[in-house]
């Protein structure tokens, strides 16, 4: 007898591994054996994890959409606006009624003296105008600019052509129309090239149609030579805006500082604090926009974390019920030699298995939701694999934490009381 017992002692090193494997198999079995209950138990965790993943994916999607749409403005773009800087809003929505202060001299100096920081610049002024073709009318924005505009703003004709240097120099009355203008003024789809469009009553010959940009301000505009714009529409010699393309993204900050100093000098102003112009840097716009969506992401993740917490409480609740329900089983196990630690381990593993199952289901649902958002909902969603890991890890921790108390309660049961439990 005593020899047998000593042999048993020797094996006790493998005991914990054996126990863990057994507990895992058993809890998997009870999960499969009672799928509805298991599902309801892990529902909270599942929703929490899925929400974290899907919402972070949507947040990321929003970020990259903002980045993309900013990129369509043009690349490495600096925009010099007339007027005093207005708080934090870097992009001016309405540029049609500002007093232009940027001169030909300003434009020339940015073009000529940049020392390689700037590759191109184009002036821009705009006005709200009434367009008329035959007897169709529409309100639009007329933009006066020069031949570098398409390149700087990454905005090209899809049909016909842009006006050329000669037409610019000779103040020709030619126009390139936005796609929306074409659609409204030529509803039957006829060829607009060579046709006359009246801008505030003055006839311009259409030479091209611009590509679709997806934003109404560009698609509903009509582009004409700055020289013609100044003479026929605004009567102003100065420009509202100078669009500048920096040589590359690394020098944007330097280019901005350089342009600032040149324009301050031209305008005879001591510092940017008193300037009558300001410069929007594409990188700043991007950072601001991403900052906003970043806050949004954090907020969503917070909401999701709360639902994980609720899910954890759900697990705790069910585990407490389970411990009570299985009091007798615990008593039997203790009578057969289970130590408090063995019981603790068993219930802990059970709640961890539950939360892992919930976590896996949540990850799958979250990824599926992101996929559906992209392929069915036409939204931008970019799953972040770090958030997948994070959510999964968090669900595991939830299982450990919220399963801990019920498991501890189970392990503290008195064997005889547990066996007597009805």
């Amino acid at each position: 007898m005593s020899k047998d017992r000593k042999a048993g002692m020797k094996l006790s090193r493998d005991k914990n591994t054996a126990m863990v494997i057994d507990s895992i198999l058993m809890s998997v079995r009870s999960l499969v054996g009672n799928p509805v209950r298991a599902f309801l138990t892990v529902l909270g965790i599942m929703i929490g994890v899925a929400a974290v993943i899907a919402l972070v994916a949507l947040g990321n999607g929003a970020k990259s959409t903002v980045a993309d749409s900013l990129q369509t403005l043009g690349s490495n773009l600096l925009i010099v606006y007339s007027g005093e800087p207005r708080g934090s809003s870097l992009v001016r929505r309405n540029t049609t009624n500002i007093t232009p202060v940027l001169s030909q001299e300003d434009l020339d100096s940015t073009r000529q003296l940049s020392g390689g920081l700037i590759s191109m610049a184009a002036p821009e002024s705009s006005a709200s105008v009434q367009l008329k073709v035959n007897n169709l009318n529409m309100a639009a924005t007329a933009i006066g600019t020069d031949v570098y505009y398409p390149e700087v703003r990454n905005f090209f004709p899809v049909y016909g052509r842009f006006f050329d240097q000669e037409e610019y120099a000779s103040r020709s009355l030619v126009a390139v129309i936005g796609i929306e203008v074409y659609r409204q003024l030529f509803p039957s789809g006829e060829d607009p090239l060579g046709q006359k469009v009246r801008i505030n009553g003055i006839g311009f010959e259409i030479v091209g149609i611009m590509q679709e940009k997806g934003n109404s301000s560009q698609d509903s505009s009509i582009l004409i030579p700055m020289s013609a714009f100044q003479r026929s529409i605004s009567g102003e010699a100065d420009y509202a805006i100078i669009n500048i393309q920096a040589a590359n993204s690394e020098v944007m900050r330097d280019a901005q500082l350089w342009v600032e100093s040149v324009l301050l000098q031209n305008h005879g102003i001591a510092s940017m604090d008193f300037a009558d112009f300001y410069i929007a840097n594409q990188l700043d716009i991007l950072a601001t926009a991403q900052g906003v969506t970043g806050t949004f992401t954090v907020l969503l993740a917070g909401i999701a974390a709360i639902s994980l917490l609720v899910g954890g409480i759900g697990i705790m609740n069910i585990m407490l019920v389970s411990v009570t329900e299985r009091t007798r089983e615990i008593g039997v196990r203790m009578a057969l030699g289970a130590r408090p630690g063995d019981v603790l381990l068993q219930f802990l593993i059970e709640s961890i298995i539950l939360s892992i199952a919930g976590g896996i289901a949540g990850v799958l649902i979250g990824l599926l939701a992101s996929w559906l958002a992209v392929h069915v909902g036409n939204m931008a969603a970019v799953p972040d694999y770090f958030s997948v890991l994070l959510a999964f890890g968090f669900s595991l921790a939830t299982g450990l934490f919220f399963g801990g108390y019920p498991a501890w309660r189970a392990s503290r049961l008195d064997p005889i009381e547990a066996l007597r439990y009805e």
């Binding site: 007898m1 047998d4 017992r5 048993g8 094996l11 006790s12 090193r13 493998d14 005991k15 054996a18 126990m19 494997i21 057994d22 058993m26 079995r29 009870s30 054996g33 007798r328 089983e329 008593g331 039997v332 196990r333 203790m334 009578a335 057969l336 030699g337 289970a338 130590r339 408090p340 630690g341 063995d342 064997p415 005889i416 066996l419």
Partner: protein, 253 residues
């Protein structure tokens, strides 16, 4: 091997104190087959639970295999239950979600026996109780008698020093009860120490030694082995407390 001295167990029920066990002294040696008989509420289960280290006495000492049990920690008690004691319950207490074979494996899991070994041992135990073909069945797919056999196999799996059975036939019909008793007799013949609690005098008579309990006291000890076994008889005489010995005389006469 089992030595109880002046064991008392009280339960405080409001103003009343219930003496479930009152000054019980008892000794059981390796290889004994003892039955404990007594009316309902006489303290049989209480005594069994104490012997099985599931419960602790209010006073008195219990020495198991030379170890004073009250000195053991929770973990050590678990180990004792695992290695030294095999429990058979009146209501079987099989784990409902485990198959017969897996039920038999449970004590081996806690003993740290590796998987393959465990399977083989458990299968061997099922064979011993005549259920080698029922290993895959769940408890609710077995008859009462079969369930109790599985429970006995489980109690034996860890090769415990003593098998404790609290009314193992209480939930079974007479015929099945007799089969279970035959199994106990056979196990005893193979050398297993058995302590059996029962209501039924007919079943109790199958054991060579009978301890009668009433109101938490030992009121009689009958030892049919005394006449036959000369060696060790002195030890056995010391088994019962003084009062019990008197009662025994009355019973014999």
């Amino acid at each position: 091997m089992i030595e109880l001295s002046n064991i008392r167990k009280f339960y405080q029920m409001g103003p009343d104190t219930i003496h479930a066990l009152d000054d019980v002294s008892l000794r059981i040696d390796e290889g004994d087959f003892v039955s404990i008989i007594g009316p309902s509420g006489s303290g049989k289960s209480t005594l069994m639970n104490l012997i099985g280290c599931l419960d602790t006495p209010s006073s008195g000492t219990y020495v198991l295999d030379g170890m004073p049990v009250e000195k053991l920690s929770r973990n050590q008690l678990a180990e004792v239950r695992n290695r030294s004691i095999g429990f058979v319950f009146q209501t079987f207490n099989l784990l409902p979600r485990l198959s017969a074979l897996e039920n038999v494996e449970v004590p081996l899991v806690y003993a740290g026996v590796d998987r393959r070994h465990r399977r083989a041992l458990a299968q061997q135990m099922l064979e011993k109780v005549g259920l080698s073909d029922r290993g895959r069945h769940l408890p609710n797919e077995l008859s009462g008698g079969q369930r109790q056999r599985v429970a006995i196999a489980r109690a034996l799996a860890g090769r415990p020093a003593v098998l404790l059975a609290d009314e193992p036939t209480g939930a079974l019909d007479t015929r099945t009860g007799e089969e279970i008793m035959a199994l106990f007799a056979e196990l005893h013949k193979e050398g297993t120490t058995i302590v059996l609690v029962t209501h039924d005098p007919v079943l109790a008579d199958k054991a060579p030694r009978i301890i009668r309990l009433k109101d938490g006291r030992i009121v009689g000890v009958e030892d049919f082995t005394l006449g036959h076994q000369v060696s060790g008889s002195t030890a056995r005489v010391a088994a019962a407390s003084l009062s019990a010995a008197t009662a025994q005389k009355e019973l014999v006469s």
